[in-house]
Symmetry: D2
Subunit: 300 residues, 4 copies
C-alpha cells in the first residue's frame, strides 16, 4: 500500500488531501496552521510535526504551496535553515507539486530533482475549491512520461482530468496560459452581457444565444457572471465562494512574468491583469472572480 | 406553396438563397451584380429585374445587404429615387432582414413596418460562408413572437439554429454582442497559444488542455487560429476563406457604436476593434479573421 | 458698436458671456434656465425671451449648447417646432458655435449656413470653467479664413488663444483629438506616479523629474492628479471643480464616434474611454477628471 | 585631477565617455568590442585590458551595461569567474552606474557597496544617442545625498540635467516611470494625429494646436512622430537614429516587472508594451521608437 505525504493544507490542499484519505491510502499531512491539520486528522490522516517528518518514508510527496519561493525553500532548502527535501528523501520518491508557481522555479526544482534520482512532476490544478471538494479537479502536468504516468494514478483520487502538457515546467506554463485566457473570457463575457442588458435584452436569453454561437465559452457553460442567470454559481450567491479575485491576480501576475521572459505579446491578458488588479484594489480581493461583472454593471 | 424573394446575393446571400431553392420553394432573386444573379438562376432561381420586382407578389421577402443605409433605402425609400418596399408591397408579406446592421436602423424599419401591417424580423446570421453553404447557419432573431414563428420556418432551410433574442432590433444587438465576444475569444486564444509556443509547448497539446479546462471556447472547439492544429479550418489553409477581417472590423464598429449609445463599458471589445483595424490596415482585410494569430507569432 | 447674442448659459457659457459683457459690447442672452439668465442680467446683459429673440438683429450669434442635436435644432430647425435661425436671421450675421459637438453636425450646419450667405465658425473651447471665468480659454476654430478672422476679434474677449484648425468642422475634430490625447495623458501620468509611489518615491520629486524629462506633459505642468503635489488644482481640493468626468466621457464618446467614421485605430483613446466610463459608473461623474488617479491609488 | 574609469562603450556609453575626455579629466575605458575601444582611444582615452584594469586606481567608476545581470556580475562577481569590483577596489571609490536596469538589482548592489564603504549611485539616462553626443542627457539618480552630490560633478560633463529621485534604486524607478509614460505619450500622440489626418486636418496645424492646449506633451515639443512636421527628428528621416524600438521594449519590460512587484495597476503602460512588442516583432526593432506612428497610418 502506498503512503503519501501531503504538505500544505490551505483552501485547496485540505479538501484534496481529504479525498486522498477517502481513497484508502495512508496520508501523512503537514501544515503550519494547527486548525488545518486538525481538519485532516479528523478524517483519518496522520499528523506530522514538520514537512520533512511527513515526507520521510513516504512513497509519494505532494505539495500545495503559495509561491515559487516556498517550493524552492522546501525542496532545495533555498533561504531556509532546514535542508531541502531533495537532500533528505530516499531517491525514487515520487514528487508532485500541485502549487501554481512560476515555470522557472518548477523547471529548476525538476532539474535538481532529476540530478538526484527523483521524478518531479509539476501538476498545478484548475477547478477551484468546489472542484477540490468534489474530487473533480483538472491537473495540468509537466514532467517525463514515466513521471506523469505514476503521478496520474495518485492524482486520479483528487481529480477528473489528468493532462500531460509536456516536459518539466510545462504544467505551469499551460496552467497560466489557460487562466490568462479564462480571465479574458470572464471579462469579455461580462461586458458583452452587460451591453446586451443596456440595450434591453434579457441576460438569460442572450446567454443561451451566445452559448450555442461563436461566442460560446466556459464561463457561459459553467460560470455565468451575471446574477440569476445560472443557479448554484457564485454570481447567484453574492459572488461568494469559487475562485477568489486575489488568486486570479496572482495567476495573471505569473502570466505577465512569463510573457516578459519570452517577449510575448499578450494585449488581452495584460489588460485583464490591469482590470483585475484594479478590482482587487477596490476591495474585491476575496470575492469570486466573476464579480468583475459589477465593474460593467454598476450604475450610481 | 410559398414564394420567396431574396435580395442581396453576396458571399453569404448567394449560398443562402441556393439552399432555399434546394428546399423546393420558389425563389425569385435580385442583385446588382449579374454574375451573382447567374449563380442562382443556374440552380433554379427566377431572376427579377429589380428588388421591387423580386418582392412583388412574394409571400416572404428576405434581404441580405451590407449596411443600415441600404436596408433603410430599400424598405423605406430613404435617400433613394425608388419608393420603399413598405409603400409597395401587400400588407401581410413577411419581411426578414438577414443583414448585419445597426440596431437603431433595424428597430426603426420594424416600427414603420408594423405601422403598415407587416411583420418585420431582424435575423442576422452567424457561421460564415461555410455555414451558409452547408445550411448550418445560426440566425439570431428580433421581432414579435408570431413574426419569429413564421420566420423560423423559412430560415430553417438555411440554418441549423434559429434563435429568438427579443423584440425588434434584439437580433442585431445579440449578434454584435456575440461577435464582439468572439473577436476577443479569437485574440485571447491566439495570444495564449503563442505564449505557450514561446515557452516550448506544443500548440496541439496546449489546445487540447485548454479546450477541456476553464479556457474552453468556440475558437478552440471549431476554429483554432494556430496553423496545423486542426484540419479544414482557415488557419491550416493560409487563412483563406471563412470570415473576413474586414467583416469583423465592420461588426466591431457596430458594437462600439452600440456601446456609445448606451454608455456601455467594453474595454476588451474596444481593444479588439483597435487590434482588428490595425490588422486590416496592414493589408489583411480579406483574409480570415483567425489570421490575427500572426500578430502574435510573427518574428522577424 | 457690435451687438452679440449669446445663447446657452451653462457652466461654461455663463462666465464666457459675462466676460463679453465686461469687454463693453452689448450682449443679449438666452437660456431656458431663469437663474442662468439672472446671473447675466445682474452683470449688465440684456435678456431675450427666446433664442430667436436674442439673435434677431445681432451682428454676431454665439451658441454654447450640449450636443449636435441642439445645434442642428437651433440653426436648422431640425426636430423643432420653431424655424431655424438660418431661416430667420439676416444674411451676413456672423455665427459662432462654441459647443463641443460631433464634427459631422458642425460641417453640415456650416454648409447650410454658407449656402444662405452666413459665415459659420465652429469654435469649441478648452480650458474648463476656471479658464472660462478668467477669460483664458483656448478656442479651436474651424471655418473659412475670413470667418476665422472675424470670429477671432469676438473670441479674444473670452480667451487667450484663438487657433485655426482648418475648414468647417476642423475645430471640432481638433478639439476631440486634443481631448482624447489629454485623457490618455491624465491616466498615464496617474498610473506612472502611483507606480513610483508604490516603490517608495515622493510624487513631488517624481513629478518634477518627469516634467523636465521625456514624460513631460500638460498634466504635470498644470494639473497634477496626485493630491498635494500642486496647489490650487482639483486634486488638492478633493477633486472638486475643474473639468467633470461626465464631460470627459462625452468628449471620449465623440472621439470614438469620429474614429468609427474614418476607420481610425485609437487603442489608447478607446481604453481611456472604457476607464473613464467605468469611473463615471462608479459614481464619480461630477468630480474632476483628474480623480481617475484614485483608480490606481485606492487600496482597501 | 580626477581619474575616471568608464566601462561599457555601446551606442550610449561611447559618446558619453568621449564627452568626459573632452572635459579634460583622465579617462580609462574598457569594452569587450575592440572597435568601441578604438573610437575612444582615438579621442584621447586610455585603454584598459579588463574592466578591473580600468577601475583599479580610479577615483570614479562609471558603468553603462545592458542589464541587471551584467551589473551584478561586474560589481558582485555573481555568475562570473572574476571577483567583483567591490572586492577589488579601494573603499571610497565613487561608483556610478548609468545602465538602465531593474530597480531590485540596483538596490542590492547599492546595499552591498554601502556595507563595504562605497558610495553607489544609480544614474540611468534619458535623452537618446543624440543627447549623449551633445552632452545634454538627463541623469535620474538614486543614492544618498552625498553620493548624489559627488556624482553630479562628474555627470555634469555628460548631461544638462542631473536629478535626484531618492535613495538607492530610485533613479531606476523614476526612469522607468518616465519611459513608461513616454511610450504612452508617443502612441497617444500618434493615434490622435492620425485621426486628425483621417478627418482631413493638416498634421502641422493640429500639432501646433495640441502643443499649446491640454494635449501638450514632450513628443509634440521635441519629437513629433508624424513625418515632415518637424525638421531634424527621426520621423522626418525615415525613423532612423534616435531611440530604438528594442530599447523601448526593454524599458517597458522593466516597467511591467516593477508593476508586478508592487501589484501596481498600469493599463496604459501594459497596452503600450503590447503595442511596442508587436511593432518590434514585425521587424521594426532597430528603428526609432516614433515609428509606432506607422501602426496607425499605414493603409494598404
Amino acid at each position: 500500500m502506498t503512503s503519501i505525504a501531503f504538505i500544505g493544507l490551505g483552501h485547496m490542499g485540505a479538501p484534496m488531501a481529504a479525498n486522498l484519505v477517502k481513497s484508502g491510502v495512508m496520508v501523512k499531512v503537514f501544515d503550519l496552521v494547527p486548525e488545518a491539520m486538525k481538519s485532516l486528522t479528523d478524517v483519518g490522516a496522520l499528523a506530522a510535526k514538520s514537512a520533512c517528518g511527513a515526507a520521510s518514508g513516504a512513497d509519494v510527496v505532494i505539495t500545495m504551496l503559495p509561491a515559487g519561493k516556498h517550493v524552492r525553500a522546501l525542496y532545495l532548502g533555498e533561504g531556509s535553515s532546514d535542508k531541502g527535501l531533495l537532500d533528505v528523501l530516499a531517491a525514487g520518491t515520487l514528487l508532485i507539486d500541485c502549487s501554481t508557481i512560476d515555470a522557472q522555479s518548477a523547471k529548476h526544482v525538476a532539474e535538481v530533482a532529476a540530478s538526484k534520482g527523483f521524478e518531479f512532476v509539476d501538476a498545478p490544478v484548475s477547478g477551484g475549491t468546489a472542484g477540490a471538494a468534489a474530487g473533480t479537479l483538472t491537473f495540468i502536468c509537466g514532467g517525463s512520461d514515466s513521471g506523469f504516468e505514476q503521478a496520474s494514478k495518485v492524482l486520479s483520487h483528487m481529480g477528473a482530468n489528468i493532462l500531460h502538457a509536456g516536459g518539466p515546467g510545462a504544467g505551469q506554463v499551460a496552467k497560466i496560459c489557460n487562466n490568462m485566457l479564462l480571465s479574458v473570457l470572464m471579462i469579455a463575457t461580462s461586458e458583452s452581457l452587460q451591453m446586451g442588458i443596456d440595450h434591453g435584452l434579457d441576460p438569460k436569453v442572450l446567454s443561451e444565444i451566445m452559448k450555442v454561437s461563436s461566442g460560446g465559452n466556459w464561463t457561459l457553460d459553467k460560470y455565468n457572471p451575471c446574477p440569476d442567470v445560472m443557479e448554484s454559481v457564485p454570481s447567484s450567491n453574492g459572488y461568494q465562494g469559487g475562485f477568489m479575485v486575489d488568486l486570479m491576480v496572482k495567476d495573471l501576475g505569473l502570466s505577465q512574468e512569463a510573457a516578459l521572459l519570452t517577449n510575448s505579446c499578450t494585449p488581452m491578458g495584460a489588460l485583464a491583469r490591469s482590470l483585475y488588479v484594479n478590482h482587487a484594489r477596490q476591495g474585491n480581493g476575496t470575492r469570486d472572480f466573476s464579480s468583475i461583472f459589477e465593474q460593467f454593471s454598476n450604475i450610481q
